[in-house]
């Protein structure tokens, strides 16, 4: 073939040409020309990044989250009826955007995969100049994107993420969560279950095999066992699974009399349907009626599962039928715009957007460190959950938790859940160094403004 001239001189020359280029870029990091933090907004507008699952098992939740974000942006910019802005206890939002800058947004698809979610968030930060990333409908994704935002130096306002890890062992200084978590679900749900089903039950767990499933299962097991239940077995199922028959059949071979489905979204719809098809709800085991529990409930899932949800207990962060002023205002403006009531995913995303906007206004700066400081220890009301605290130690919101049950006689296709109990915040509060939340080792680290 061709003759080789791979001499020492030739290699050196080529090497110098190739390597000289990158070394000059070791200096300034990120957006160098701006004022001290990543993507500082210039001009009259500010860009937020809405990163939600548009495909995959949580696509329904993602679609509803996106609707809520669009509504929040409309309200922040002074459109519509203002939603929860008038009922919000902090009065800095006046319909002129955030700090007088018009709010714009970009959207992305997380595909319910950590990789895709990070790629999408990265392009929002690097290409579109997003100052804040919010969204997620899977804790795996939320944890991954939260880590990215910490490195990149932007604020992450978690959407629907229920894993203890998000504000537990994976907590980050730049990340904030309004939604409740697995521990809170367990603490709220266990007493209600003990009341309804007795204290000598044997539970069989089917658990989605990722951070959320693991921590929720751990929480439910701990709080039910504290009340006298025993746990027969815990079986992990892949998130991508769509048919759970092979996981349900073995339940019949055990002496378990309660099935706990630690599944969410499309997973829960399928596993519950499978369980009902196998006749679990009509079974009598140990002389007791067999029961199914779905610890994390949402109206979207209830709608997907249809009549199968009747009489099944679960917990939820928020429900549109709550009578307080904030919830009613939000349900009204969401319903007017889209023609149906919002889900809990929509509510938490809308709330997070408002909370971020308000924190920026109060801090007087978009600097992530200033915003974080404004959110830490912030107490507010009027956003649908009653008085709420953003705890400074782990960036988790503390508020009442709803225990709900599938309605026996639904009056409409949206009226599927009834509220059984509103568990007061004191009952679901835990210390920041709780062993389920990473123990004493877990730390937020320090806030990262990027530049």
């Amino acid at each position: 073939m061709s003759k080789s001239d791979l001499t020492r001189r030739g290699v050196l020359r080529a090497g110098a040409a190739g390597l000289a280029t990158p070394t000059i870029f070791s200096g300034a990091v990120w957006a160098a020309s701006h004022s001290g933090f990543t993507n500082a907004p210039e001009g009259g507008s500010v860009t937020l990044g809405f990163n939600v699952p548009q495909t995959g098992p949580y696509a329904d939740e993602g679609a509803d989250e996106l609707r809520a974000y669009e509504l929040a942006v409309e309200h922040l910019n002074g459109g519509g009826d203002g939603g929860m802005i008038p009922t919000f206890s902090s009065k800095t939002l006046d319909g002129t955007g955030i700090l007088g800058k018009k709010v714009e947004y970009v959207t992305g698809d997380t595909q319910t995969k950590s990789d895709a979610a990070r790629a999408s968030a990265k392009s929002m930060i690097e290409k579109d100049g997003a100052i804040m990333i919010t969204g997620g409908s899977s804790s795996g994704v939320a944890v991954a994107v939260q880590g990215l935002c910490q490195e990149a130096g932007v604020i992450f306002m978690a959407g629907l993420t229920h894993s203890n890890d998000t504000t537990g062992k994976d907590r980050k200084a730049n990340g904030f969560r309004h939604f409740f978590n697995g521990y809170m679900s367990g603490a709220a749900l266990a007493p209600v279950l003990a009341n309804a089903y007795g204290t000598d039950r044997k539970a069989y767990h089917l658990t989605a095999d990722y951070t959320w499933g693991w921590t929720q299962q751990e929480s439910i097991q701990a709080s039910t066992e504290a009340l006298g239940w025993s746990t027969v077995q815990n079986v992990l199922t892949p998130l991508a699974a769509t048919d759970f028959s092979s996981y349900i059949a073995p339940v019949l071979q055990t002496d378990a009399d309660v099935l706990v489905l630690n599944h969410y979204g499309g997973n829960m719809v399928n596993s519950l349907t499978n369980a009902v098809q196998f006749g679990l709800k009509d079974k009598i085991v140990n002389g007791k009626q067999f029961e199914i529990v779905v610890p994390l409930y949402s109206r979207l899932m209830a709608r997907g599962a249809g009549a199968n949800v009747k009489g099944i207990f679960g917990s939820t962060n928020w429900h549109w039928s709550l009578p307080d002023e904030g919830s009613q205002a939000f349900t009204r403006s969401f319903g007017t715009k889209y023609g149906f009531p919002p889900s809990q995913a929509a509510h938490t995303c809308y709330t997070q957007t408002l909370l971020y906007a308000d924190a920026v206004n109060r801090a007087g700066s978009f600097n992530p460190c200033a915003v974080a400081e404004a959110l830490e220890g912030f107490e507010f009301d009027g956003l649908g959950n009653g008085p709420t605290l953003y705890r400074a130690e782990d960036h988790q919101c503390f508020k009442d938790v709803l225990v709900v049950k599938g309605k026996e006689n639904p009056t409409s296709e949206f009226d599927l859940l009834e509220i059984v109990e509103i568990t007061p915040v004191s009952q679901v509060t835990y210390p920041p160094d709780h062993p389920m939340f990473g123990g004493a080792e877990a730390s937020l680290g320090s806030c990262n403004p990027g530049a």
């Binding site: 073939m1 061709s2 003759k3 080789s4 001239d5 791979l6 030739g10 080529a14 190739g18 390597l19 280029t21 990158p22 070394t23 000059i24 870029f25 070791s26 200096g27 300034a28 990091v29 990120w30 957006a31 160098a32 020309s33 548009q54 495909t55 970009v106 959207t107 992305g108 698809d109 995969k113 950590s114 990789d115 895709a116 990070r118 790629a119 999408s120 990265k122 392009s123 690097e126 290409k127 804790s139 795996g140 944890v143 991954a144 880590g147 990215l148 490195e151 990149a152 890890d165 062992k169 994976d170 095999d209 990722y210 951070t211 992990l236 892949p238 998130l239 080792e441 730390s443 680290g445």
Partner: protein
Amino acid sequence: MLGLATKDFVLLLVVAVLCLFAPVLLNPFPETSDLAQFNAGYPDLMQRFVIFGIFAIGFNILFGLTGYLSFGHAAFLGVGSYSVVWMFKLLNYNIVPGLLLSLVVSGLFALAIGYVSLRRSGIYFSILTLAFAQMSFALAYSVLTPITNGETGLQVYGNDPQYLQGDSAPNIPHLFGMTMRATETVEFGPWLWQFNAGYYFCAVVMLIAFYLAIRIFRSPFGMMLRAVKSNQQRMRYTGLNPRPYTLAAFVISGMYAGLAGGLMASMDPLAGAERMQWTASGEVVLMTILGGTGTLIGPVLGAGLIKYLENILSKINDNILHQWFAFMPDGLEDFLVAIVHPFIGKGWHLTLGLVFMAVVIFLPGGLVEGGQRIGRLFGRKKPAEAEAKAAAKTPAE
């Protein structure tokens, strides 16, 4: 030059120049215009272009030369990523040990899988590799969670040992102190160019990988691989054993994939199990076929096209469409948005499918064939045009 024929050297040089100026070339539209949506010159996407370029170049060494269609190359990609993140967790954030380990581990992994799979050829080989890859995916996803952290993805935590991490060393992936995230932003009028250290590192690695691929293509070894593709029987009758050659090609292309996976984790320190899923294996097959199987530059072009569609098209939403068509009357605007809607956002797969079908039907040789046809078109047209002009001039005078 560098042991290459002039034509190949020119190709390498062209690729090098394209890589060097990619931040400028990929941002052709000013930031303020509506078309800025189509700009691809931001670090994350440019890194993806070159990383998947490496992946596709490696795949092409196996598929393009020997004709063995592997449906399991994503497994090596994933193994490479996990290696790098583990090195981050155990040693420090310097990317060099991780990348070396990813080469070694993916090479060994490819040796094991190749040794078994290459006992069969054709469709049986494809199915075997697919089975191995799905097995690796299932292992990473649920069985080996202590090593892979399952669905959540392997990440570096504050309480990881990081035995070699110095106090002054950056807390993000770096190459001897130069962080992969470091970006120099240059504003040139309305244009914004981002020169990113991580991208240039990947680009240099890709150029080396590309150079090695050219050498392999032009070597006697490459000739042997082509012989395997054209007729294995005949090769055996002439007294040559094809197995060592195919196994070597399989291991080399597995190492390319491992390197690509390692680079992905070096740019963004997280390794997810879905990197090993069969869809990722299928993607690299698409890239190679789309660009042009068996050509040098084809797979890189295919990788670029797919990553571009994935990242740019999937981010266009209805809101943006309404902005574009805002100048039209309301009814027509909504109609056009409704027509375009299925092809953007989450529908980008549909667009990719149509592009793929069009390429396979009209350009069986991939994008490279398209380029050649255009080249030929111009080559022929020039004299014809000149004649036509001359003919047109004569009567006028």
